[in-house]
Amino acid sequence: MNERTKPLKKWQAVAGAAIIAVVVGIGVLQLNLADSSEASAMPMSDLEDVPGFRFVNGDMDEDQYEVEELAREYLVVECMAASGWEYTAAPSVVVEMNESGLTEEYVDPNDSITAALSEDQLSEYYLALYGTSSPDELVQEENTDNGCLQKAHAEIPGVFELASQLAVETDALEVEISNDPQTTEASAKWEVCMSEKGFKYGSVDELLTALQNEPAGQNKTSKAQLAEKENKNSCGPELRKDKRAAAVKHENAFVKKHKVVIEKFKKKHALAFAQAEKIVEAHQE
């Protein structure tokens, strides 16, 4: 599991108190310190400072998304109430699996509300929430922006708004990075590293394909499993570091190229995020 290192804010402490299931068993919430130290040693590009584009600090984007999602839920509560419907904020839940057993099953707080509605009432409820009375039809008549949910998203578009708008450009960026000679060299270096450990694989892809195609139940001493152990402990981290170094120059050029739109978004998002935090805090006081 990834480590999230931001200090707890007030809303987080309150949300923590609302945890719906108690984690039991050792190891469920264990932090992968190796990953975290590897991440901290990664070369950083200017993209790490752009909300929605972060990779090394990708948890920051997820943390912001989490606040924004909760704020949207509270906006939906208000919007639904204005239409005469009861709605309980129900943000997403993180699932952690544990061999030792189920502690408590998640129950959506709105299930009991909708279960009590007649068919006609449910259609009206959906119309208010989604802007369509049949949001569970496979083919939707038309896209609507009239529901409380869509309105909440319009008010708080969120951390990934610009990343979504620049999806084509980021796809092109990925191609540039993978075609960079430095990336190719990093892969060649990995091959030598693995070879020195006694494993002949032409690429990480080849090793991972071998792993994925092993018969189910293959034990830990298979050649591919042993090679993967070496990859994970020695050759892999170096490869990722080298590839990241290659990526940095392209990502910095990307930021430079889109500087105007990025700076504009950063300002807009900072304001929207502050608003989201205010909404959450106001509802949790």
Binding site: M1, N2, A21, V95, L102, Y106, L138, V139, Q140
Partner: protein, 235 residues
């Protein structure tokens, strides 16, 4: 801090699905380092649910498949005992959300989260032939939009992992407007490339039996297909 839910296995997890009241997702963090990709899985949430042979219900079965793709290694003692945890989305380094609302909310959430792949998961239906032992038109279909080259590529990669495992002989990728009832919302509306899986037909026994083995035998192959589409990114 986000709400945390601890579940033991797929039987418990299926209790999370089937509601269409709200728009919340279920999240899975990568088991180790994030590989930079976000995958949105959207299992069927029909209302009313679709029935199949025996006591089969599509919503719970689709949720089980999605869970297997996201996290199979932790959901079954066989895979816990045998180190296959790389072969699910969590193990492969993906961030995963599984939608539990409606098809509308799934698309809205997938787009807001800027998912890199959107994968609806359903099971198919035709005339009931519950005692049949030989397939006629049954098999696994993966649908995509007519003009989406990325959706088509994603569909092909996923089908490549399922077609030799699915019992029916009619495995294929196809355009939704050709193979389905029309332009499917979860193919046309997501920003991410969409590959819409119809994992076998629940209208014959062999299909149902296979679908029910997703968590122990083949659900993780969806993860492998997605991983192959992305070129096995590992940070």
């Amino acid at each position: 801090m986000q709400r945390v839910l601890v579940v033991a296995g797929v039987c418990a997890l299926t209790g999370l699905f089937g509601s269409t009241a709200t728009a919340a997702d279920v999240l899975y963090e990568p088991a180790e380092a994030w590989n930079g990709k976000r995958v949105y899985l959207s299992p069927a949430t029909h209302n009313p649910d679709k029935q199949g042979c025996g006591d089969y219900k599509e919503n719970a079965a689709s949720a089980s498949i999605a869970e297997a793709a996201a996290n199979s290694a932790y959901a079954d003692s066989y895979y816990v005992a045998n180190p296959r945890d790389r072969n699910n989305l969590r193990g492969l380094g993906y961030r995963v959300r599984i939608g539990k609302g409606t098809y509308q909310s799934a698309v809205i959430n997938s787009n807001a989260w800027n998912a890199h792949a959107h994968v609806p998961i359903h099971t198919n239906a035709t005339t009931f032939r519950c005692t049949a032992t030989t397939s006629v038109g049954e098999g696994t279909w993966v649908m995509h939009g007519a003009t989406s080259t990325q959706g088509k590529a994603l569909s092909q990669k996923i089908l490549a992992e399922l077609k030799t495992r699915s019992p029916g002989a009619n495995d294929k990728t196809c355009v939704d407007t050709v193979c389905s009832i029309g332009s499917l919302h979860e193919i046309s509306a997501p920003n991410a490339p969409s590959a819409y899986i119809e994992a076998e037909f629940h209208t014959w026994n062999k299909g149902v039996a296979w679908i029910r083995e997703a968590n122990v035998k083949w659900g993780y192959r969806i993860a492998v297909g997605i991983d192959n589409y992305f070129g096995k990114p590992r940070g």
